[in-house]
């Protein structure tokens, strides 16, 4: 098997990756999640081109939801701070991924596309499937995986946008509701420890309280206060056991 695969054209991993994307459960998760995001951007008054660009450039659901739901009403600095805080996970993801992709002689610019395509769904599938892919095909494979899932998301967001504009209010409401629901589920699914779960619970409660104070940067303050509180609980528990 390794004899023939090493004679395949470079970049052949790409189509394998693409196929893997279509067979992945995340394909459907993204379709649902991003049709909600498309609908959200319609309701907040953005145009479809902007929305497609938003998905292609940012490619991270929490950051996109923050941008879409706050950009029109708060200052640019607040949006930037909130987005910066929400996307921290991307760093360890990319750092964990790259050693699996690179070999001797891999140039930095070959890793730029995999770097940008990294999102939770792409990364999770990649980490799961890459060990089974021959090393010299992995970059192509990951690119295929990423492009496949990103395309699905982009398409879904366009459809969601279109549907939100045409459907009767009840269905549009349902579409919009997908966003908080999927963010809730995926956040809780990703909780590995008490800290994460507590952080989420506190965030839901503290958020509206701080927002009501009308001091600006409420998302950032909520993140810092609720997140640090959850972390503090964790430290206290560690210290007393």
């Amino acid at each position: 098997m390794s004899e023939t695969s090493s004679q395949r054209a470079p970049g052949s991993g790409f189509f394998d990756g693409l196929r893997a994307a279509l067979k992945s459960i995340f394909f459907y998760v993204l379709l649902g999640h991003y049709s909600g995001i498309g609908a959200l951007s319609y309701e907040f008054g953005f145009d479809p081109v902007w929305m497609v660009l938003c998905t292609l450039l940012i490619w991270a659901a929490p950051a996109q939801v923050i941008v879409i739901s706050t950009l029109g009403t708060v200052t640019l600095i607040e949006v930037a701070v909130a987005v910066t805080l929400s996307s921290v996970r991307l760093l360890p993801m990319v750092a964990a991924l790259l050693p699996m992709l690179q070999r001797e002689g891999t140039r930095q610019r070959e890793l730029v596309l995999p770097m940008h395509l990294t999102a939770i769904s792409v990364w999770a599938e990649g980490m799961r499937l890459l060990p089974g892919v021959p090393k010299h095909e992995r970059i192509g494979y990951y690119n295929g995986l990423g492009v496949g899932l990103l395309s699905a998301a982009t398409l879904a967001s366009a459809v969601g946008f279109y549907l939100a504009a045409r459907l009767p209010p009840l269905f549009a409401a349902g579409l919009l509701f997908l966003t908080p629901m999927s963010l809730l589920m995926s956040s809780v699914r990703n909780t590995r420890t008490l800290v994460d779960g507590l952080a989420f619970g506190l965030g839901v409660v503290v958020g509206p309280v701080i927002a009501a104070q009308k001091i600006g940067l409420d998302l950032m303050w909520t993140g810092l206060i609720a997140g640090t509180a959850a972390y503090a609980v964790h430290r206290i528990r560690e210290a007393t056991t």
């Binding site: 640019l76 890793l111 990294t118």
Partner: protein, 115 residues
């Protein structure tokens, strides 16, 4: 800093506060693993842009007509910067010397030609 999307448009806003703060983490992940190629074109460009932005902010600070500096003539302010820069270059690139000379020049100029 209190600017909103209304002032720069949705597309520029998307890039500045949506794309950049988000992508920064991915790029940092890449840098963490690969190290920073000091000579790569991207790094050179980023440093150039950051330096240019810094220069613009400095210029605005010096030339702005608000605050305590406003009472001092523009010529004096700019002259003080120039004097400080000269001192820096001449005195073995000492930041301390440059700042000191600049301050003295500013105070002297303000006393002589100020209100």
């Amino acid at each position: 800093m209190t600017a909103t999307m209304a002032e720069i448009g949705p597309y520029l806003a998307l890039i500045l506060v949506g794309f950049l703060p988000n992508e920064v983490w991915r790029v940092l992940g890449l840098v963490l693993v690969r190290g920073l190629d000091e000579d790569s074109q991207l790094v050179v460009w980023v440093r150039a842009v950051a330096t240019a932005m810094l220069a613009a902010v400095l210029a605005q600070l010096v030339l702005s007509s608000s605050g305590a500096l406003a009472a001092i003539p523009v010529v004096v302010r700019v002259g003080a910067i120039g004097a400080g820069l000269l001192a820096f270059v001449v005195l073995r690139r000492s930041v301390f010397a440059g700042v000191l000379v600049g301050e003295i020049a500013l105070l002297a100029g303000a006393t002589l030609w100020g209100p």
